[in-house]
């Protein structure tokens, strides 16, 4: 598979690190894994770390928006971090940053979910 996904827990924040290419083909796997993790009782918030994501198209936007809806419905917050410039461009084009906060690194993105409180 051209996309590797790592998930880890940081208190009540689920951190998902994406490595590779996120398109229609790999989106199904990302959606399935994150949805399963979001079913855990301890999860309130979601951070997507895109540091190693090298390619993303509109299928990736669909996956991100889908998880945003789910997390928001759960009463949680979702943030993203470490976005490559080429991927940032299509995110800007789609207006994703109107609803999602972006951070330079993972710890800031996790803190922004309010874990400290």
């Amino acid at each position: 598979m051209a996309l590797h996904l790592d998930v880890k827990r940081s208190k009540n924040v689920l951190v998902a690190r994406l490595d590779g290419e996120l398109d229609h083909h790999t989106a199904a796997h990302v959606r399935k894994v994150i949805e399963e993790e979001l079913n855990h009782e301890w999860v309130t918030h979601l951070v997507l770390n895109l540091e190693k994501l090298e390619f993303m198209d509109s299928s990736g936007l669909g996956v991100i928006l889908g998880r945003y809806k789910r997390v928001t419905q759960m009463g949680g917050k979702m943030t993203i971090c470490s976005v490559q410039p080429s991927i940032q461009r299509i995110m800007e084009m789609s207006g994703l940053f109107k609803i999602l906060q972006m951070f330079q690194d993972e710890s800031s993105a996790v803190s922004a979910c309010g874990v400290a409180s």
Binding site: A2, E21, D23, H24, H25, A27, R31, F55, D57, S58, S59, L61, G62, V63, L65, G66, S86, I90, M93, S94
Partner: protein
Amino acid sequence: MKPVHTNFMELCFNARSENESFARVAVAAFLSQLDPTIEDLTDIKTVVSEAVTNSVIHGYEENPEGVILIRTEIEGTKICVQITDYGLGIEDVTEARQPLYTSKPELERSGMGFTIMENFMDEVMIHSKPGEGTTIQLVKQLTPQSQQSLVN
């Protein structure tokens, strides 16, 4: 006068989702002879991915027996990529081009495919006939490497 450098390639493959990455990488590999900027190459890979994904999901509704054809032409520093499927076709092209429009919201489609194509390419032409298929023609004038520093 120096004749304009021309070249073309054609690819034909099944409408399988695993071929989406094959298609964008193959087109990018063919265009590497023009020594494009990383930005141009990323733009082209993205739009090829969008068009092929549209054929897989909408043209053939994920029937992997469908056939997708890509023709890439080079004319000097101008490139033209044509993506053709023989699937369902688009009933209303104007509606399909609208940002955020998707006929398949249940599949978590963002509806940004054509908007991305229009933003990343100089020209986007859609020829579609319901029941016969769709051809998307994408044209872009590549940025010369020497101008890259001025752009950035």
